[in-house]
């Protein structure tokens, strides 16, 4: 399959103005290409920058340099150079992102929370609701909870709602930040199954999975993200040679 997502020369340093302008280099000159049907697992110790990289691929964080080329509507677009409305469109149709925690929308029912992304792409309400119900069933969210807002749900229930929402639309690119972190074995296996289905549809997947079972089941290769860098250099005097990112490891 062809490359669906190509990050080139990505670099990211946070500057913390509220803390005396401390500069926090996270990664530098990252190159990552992901093919359709492939799942790349971001790997590295806590604080290495895995989530930062994943958020950058969604344009949630703004890298300082580089390009993120994605296929959208039959064209190749650089996500970092795109206008905000264009990024909104790309996120609607071409890139899905499942964050580590569900951001609850007050007063919206679980079924609607899950169905919403499809409705935003213009799907009929009824069809979207059916697909949402199907996903919620597979992820073992009891039907009596569907009409409630997920604010009061347990951590694992919220995470499964979040996954269902992220999988509603068949995005060609899917970004997953520890989707199985607080799930039991049965639910973990269902998430594995859902990711495998996405891959067989040709989705390019980039994920962070702490769980080795999940990694082995869905991952095609690891992508090492830096070492934990503690280069808290003073403003204007940074040395960030340790902010390297290794090439992909098999």
């Amino acid at each position: 399959m062809s490359i669906r997502l190509h990050a080139e020369g990505l670099s990211k340093t946070f500057t913390l103005h509220t803390q005396g302008g401390t500069r926090l280099p996270v990664f530098r000159d990252i190159d990552l290409a992901v093919r359709g049907g492939e799942c790349v697992c971001l790997h590295g110790p806590s604080g290495a920058g895995k989530s930062t990289l994943l958020r950058s691929l969604y344009a949630n964080y703004k890298p300082d340099a580089g390009r993120i080329l994605v296929e959208h509507g039959g064209k190749i677009i650089d996500l970092l150079a795109a206008e905000p409305w264009e990024v909104v469109e790309i996120r609607k149709r071409s890139i899905g992102y499942v964050s580590q925690f569900l951001r609850v929308i007050p007063r919206i029912s679980t079924l609607d929370v899950v169905a919403e992304p499809a409705i935003f792409t213009g799907a009929a309400r009824e069809a979207a609701a059916n697909a949402a119900a199907n996903l919620l069933t597979r992820l073992r969210i009891p039907e009596r909870l569907w009409s409630l807002a997920p604010a009061t749900f347990s951590g694992g229930e919220q995470q499964r709602v979040n996954i269902a929402r992220g999988l509603m639309v068949h995005y060609p690119i899917l970004l997953l930040d520890e989707p199985t972190a607080s799930l039991d074995a049965a639910n973990r296996r269902m998430v594995i199954e859902l990711i495998q289905e996405a891959k067989s549809r040709g989705t390019a997947v980039v994920g962070i999975f702490h769980d080795e079972e999940v990694r082995n089941a869905v991952g095609d290769r690891l992508f090492e993200v830096g070492k934990s860098i503690d280069v808290r250099s003073a403003p204007h005097a940074e040395k960030e040679k340790s902010a390297h990112v290794g090439a992909s490891v098999e």
Partner: protein, 265 residues
Amino acid sequence: MIPAPKRALPPPLLSVNGVSRSYGKQLGCQDISFSVRPGEVLGIVGESGSGKSTLLACISGRLQPDTGSLVYDMKDRGPVDILALSEPERRRLARSEWGIVHQNPRDGLRMDFTAGGNVGERPMAIGARHYGNIRSEAQNWLEKVEIDLSRTDDKPKTFSGGMQQRLQIARNLVTRPRLVFMDEPTGGLDVSVQARLLDLLRGLVRELGIAAIIVTHDLAVVRLLADRLMVMQRGRVIEEGLTDQVLDDPHHPYTQLLVSSVLQA
């Protein structure tokens, strides 16, 4: 992979170019430029006195800017320079294509009309005639904003603040405007009422594809409603971008301070 060339775009719904406004020596807002596309929701945040309301009043034709231009893409005339319109023309435009939700519902409602009359006034003004239709459309909107139909013939002064604010929203959205200006639409309401109003707004704006410019000091409000965000300080826009980008990865020192000083948005 090779990126495609940028394509030409349809004109924005509203473009604001270099708008400034002072009050004597007091700076209101300075050199503001941005544009809004159809269906796009833009949030404006910033500290008290940073010029948000001044900017909103200027771009909604209620306050004359000292410099700058405003171009609005009218439904049947195409792009027009708003500042060059005559006063009656501007009023007609505002009535037929815009909505303005004021922070204080009293500024946006007719306190001497009934609730139904408040909602029905605009459809009537732009040519709807049949009383039955207007009344049923008004009731339809009262239902949408969760005002009990038994209150249709009551005057808004008998309503709570939250009900008045919802009535103001119904009054503005009933004619399906293409662009809505809102100044602190959830200000002055208690938290549970705010949450209700917010998802009401969120649903309506998304469902009807209305473009909106929302001024607020509440980051949770923009997180929920706005596609894009502008941050103002001392009359200027100091940071702008996708809402989640600006809130999660703020670059300007003032934005970082703003984001870090609230618990979680």
